[in-house]
Symmetry: C2
Subunit: 336 residues, 2 copies
């Protein structure tokens, strides 16, 4: 491999090589007039109203895994944070920290994934930065995206689940974390295990467009379904009662979880949203989710139950009930 097939320190130095990287790789991939100005900041207008703003760093290893890569994640994850906040994602920034020696082809592939995912989510990458650190200073490629979106007009009761509300999810949980783990460890299966990583804003649009009373949305990323429900319930009189048998888990995730002793409910997803919906609208919400390609496996998995005092419980098919605790940390590090 020739020297210029790899990232050099000078690619991050703000000089000629930085300029070449921007013109030859980033501009064609993220093609839009706002980015093309290459000014210190992107300038655009948003309609008057409230806006949402979020950021996440992505450090997943390996950087390519079945179903996606760090670039897919970096766009989808930030889009999803905006979408579950009730915003319509519009503009993304993107900052790369690259390790000297990174194959340019790897960067090209990641940037291609970012561009495709941005197009899928109908957002524009309008500003960015690239830093290069010497060999051993970082683990290949880290990406930090930030996103800006317009807050939509939210339904009455938004933000506060109430006892009796139903808890929905748009499909099987755990696939992302297990797919990354399998790629990391070189595990091979009969049934391929694919990451679910995808931008969820289209699915969430469908849900809001259905006119159902959406009380709460959250993407179930680090710490999995268990963490997001524990966070939601913490400090409330009510809790969440889940039906174990109702929670969709793919056969591959289930068997890998059993082999490794890792509960899929604690495993990160990157394309799953937890939706709390008023009981009367739960069936309509389920139907609207299922009408979207990313919600075909949607299910009603539990209920907001009074008196649980912030706990999340899991009712098993044989009639037992156990508490689903907040995880101390992610069981699988470097998952996003």
């Amino acid at each position: 491999m020739k020297p210029l097939d790899r990232i050099l320190l000078a690619h991050g130095g703000g000089g000629t090589l930085s300029g070449a990287l921007i013109r030859e790789l980033f501009l064609p991939a993220f093609d839009n007039p706002t980015l093309a100005t290459l000014s210190d900041a992107a300038v655009f207008s948003l309609p008057p109203g409230r806006m949402a703003f979020t950021t996440d760093s992505y450090v997943v290893t390996p950087r390519f895994f079945p179903g996606g890569d760090i670039g897919t994640l970096a766009v989808a994850g930030t889009v999803n944070d905006l979408a579950v906040s009730g915003a319509v994602p519009r503009f993304l920034s993107c900052a790369f920290i690259l390790e000297e020696g990174l194959p340019l082809d790897d960067l090209r592939r990641v940037v291609g994934s970012m561009a495709r995912t941005a197009a899928q989510a109908d957002v524009q990458l309008v500003t960015g930065d690239t830093k290069v650190v010497e060999r051993g200073g970082a683990d290949g490629i880290f990406i930090t995206t930030a996103g800006v979106g317009e807050l939509r007009t939210l339904p009455e009761g938004w933000g506060t689940p109430l006892p009796g509300d139903r808890v929905l999810i748009n499909g099987p949980v755990g696939d992302h974390g297990f797919a990354v783990l399998a790629a990391r460890e070189g595990l091979v299966f009969d049934t391929p295990l694919l990451s679910d990583c995808a931008p969820l804003n289209g699915l969430i649009d469908t849900l809001f467009d259905a006119g159902v009373q959406v009380r709460f949305l959250r993407d179930a990323t680090r710490g999995g379904l268990a963490a997001v429900l524990n966070e939601m319930a913490a400090g409330h009189d009510w809790g969440v009662a889940l039906q174990a048998g109702a929670i969709p888990i793919s056969p591959a995730a289930r068997s890998l979880g059993e082999i490794l002793g890792i509960d899929p409910l604690f495993v990160a997803n990157e394309g799953k949203v937890v939706a709390v919906i008023a009981a009367a609208d739960a069936a309509d919400a389920l139907a609207s989710m299922r009408s979207h390609p990313l919600g075909r496996g949607a299910a009603i998995i539990g209920i907001i139950e009074p008196g649980l005092h912030g706990l999340v419980t899991l009712d098993t098919d044989v009639g037992g009930r156990r508490i689903l605790d907040m995880p101390l940390g992610e069981q699988l590090p470097r998952i996003c």
Copy 2:
């Protein structure tokens, strides 16, 4: 040092330890009601109009240096990118990538610097993220900030320097890069060399408030004064003619530059803005810069000269003229 005096992988896992870090460190330091909601995205209103959006990653090593640290930089740098774009910086996001084993005291000190710099710049840190990578996976601490600001009403002629315009800078160049280099190499001097890193939005407000015709602003970071002027002039019929004797350089930076063979004009600054001002207003602009604490060393250093075809030239005190080229990359990596 006890285990919990250091960053663990679980601090980035989205579980109990992540929550503790947020509640005990980030929330008290960045104290503001928008951040305190701890939702997936910060929500706020901006007045109708155009907005500016920018991002930068900070990877400087060492993380503490005379005059600042990676936290000061991460806030000031992004504030400055907004300010030179003609925006009033308002809200910042902040994403940490931490290496397992990082002393919590180091993080505390960096976060303290971020909070102080944000207060100085009158911006709020409203949303964030923390990832932890295993030992050897990153070099201690990387910070990525993104910023949102309101575009001000810009003077006629903004964005396009014209032949005859004067080029100003608010003080001596090269101190930041040399201060970081000296800290990295353990060099000790009689006169301490301090980084200039500071938020420049207040100084830039002063300049706009003076009602002078500001044609162009850019902070002279990576690649130094030489890179920013080359970028500005590229593709134009005109160029920039600098007067070597007029460019402020501190005695410490000058002597270190001579010893190391590094031209201070190519060395990164983190508190220097290049301002191109209509000739008739140059004296007023200089006076207004000098009235601000961060502009006391301001000077008129050159002129936009027709016929230079995108070149930046340096007229020496003995009557010679040489071309100041675009650097290939940063001479000193990991400077910001």
